[in-house]
Symmetry: C2
Subunit: 127 residues, 2 copies
DNA sequence: ATAATATATGAACAGATATTCATATATTCA
DNA sequence: TGAATATATGAATATCTGTTCATATATTAT
């Protein structure tokens, strides 16, 4: 990878350095406004939790309200273990929460961001 | 997996069938409003495109406007090949578009859905 | 305390994914 | 046409991910 050098504007292509297509001004300016690596990591982890078909189906199921694990299992049609593993992923990403009632755990959408993201995803694919 | 049978309400837990925690009414009602497997697949594929740190950084770079590949490469700090592969993934997901100008390709965010999803993702992790 | 039910969890394996390397394609310039 | 630049692409590989299977934990009922 070439190093970014400064103050070497090329007469033929004023925005670029060394005619190499490196718009140093733009890159330097954007680099300051850029999200941090840490933020990018957490955002990607968040979307990773939404990147599996089973988890997406679980979340859309929960849009109608809270459900216990065995009902999710029934509705989504995967094994108890698989649902549980996926619910943990969703929980860790802050996408769902749960409460206990007797032997059952009732899962629900964590907040309205989640519903909106799902709605937007669905909208995006329908274009 | 137990089969869903109808009309067998259990006296002890009226919402459930066979005391097995299966809320058959709820499950049947939700099953009708459920997104299809196909929709779930496409939505998960969309979010999968957002589930990688490099791609997230590329997209946030592009929020400021279009950029050519070599500038993205410089800003994000990964190899030319890696950027190109990731741009293809983003393109296939409909998240970015591009136009050619001479030897360079200028990539940009495909539509406002994308910006909003990114903004919401960032918002969600900051809570 | 014991049994039954609901859910979680760890290990293992098959399949997916991101990067690298080498090379191909497309465009411009001389 | 040939050289240089910008980007794309295929193959290979190491890593990651989702499911299954077996088992553990937690709650309730007997």
């Amino acid at each position: 990878m070439d190093e970014i050098k400064d103050g070497m504007a090329c007469p033929e292509c004023p925005h670029h350095l060394e005619c190499g297509g490196k718009n140093i001004e733009l890159v330097k300016r954007l680099a300051e406004k850029m999200i941090t690596e840490e933020e990018a990591y957490y955002v990607s982890e968040l979307f990773k939790a939404l990147s599996d078909m089973t988890r997406v189906r679980i979340l859309f199921s929960l849009l109608g309200g809270e459900m216990c694990v065995c009902d999710i299992q029934e509705l989504v049609g995967v094994s108890q273990s698989a649902v549980s593993h996926q619910l943990r992923t969703l929980k860790q990403a802050g996408l769902v929460k749960y409460r206990r009632e007797g032997k059952s755990l009732y899962y629900s959408i964590a907040d309205s961001h989640v519903s909106t993201m799902l709605a937007m995803g669905l909208e995006h694919i329908s274009e």
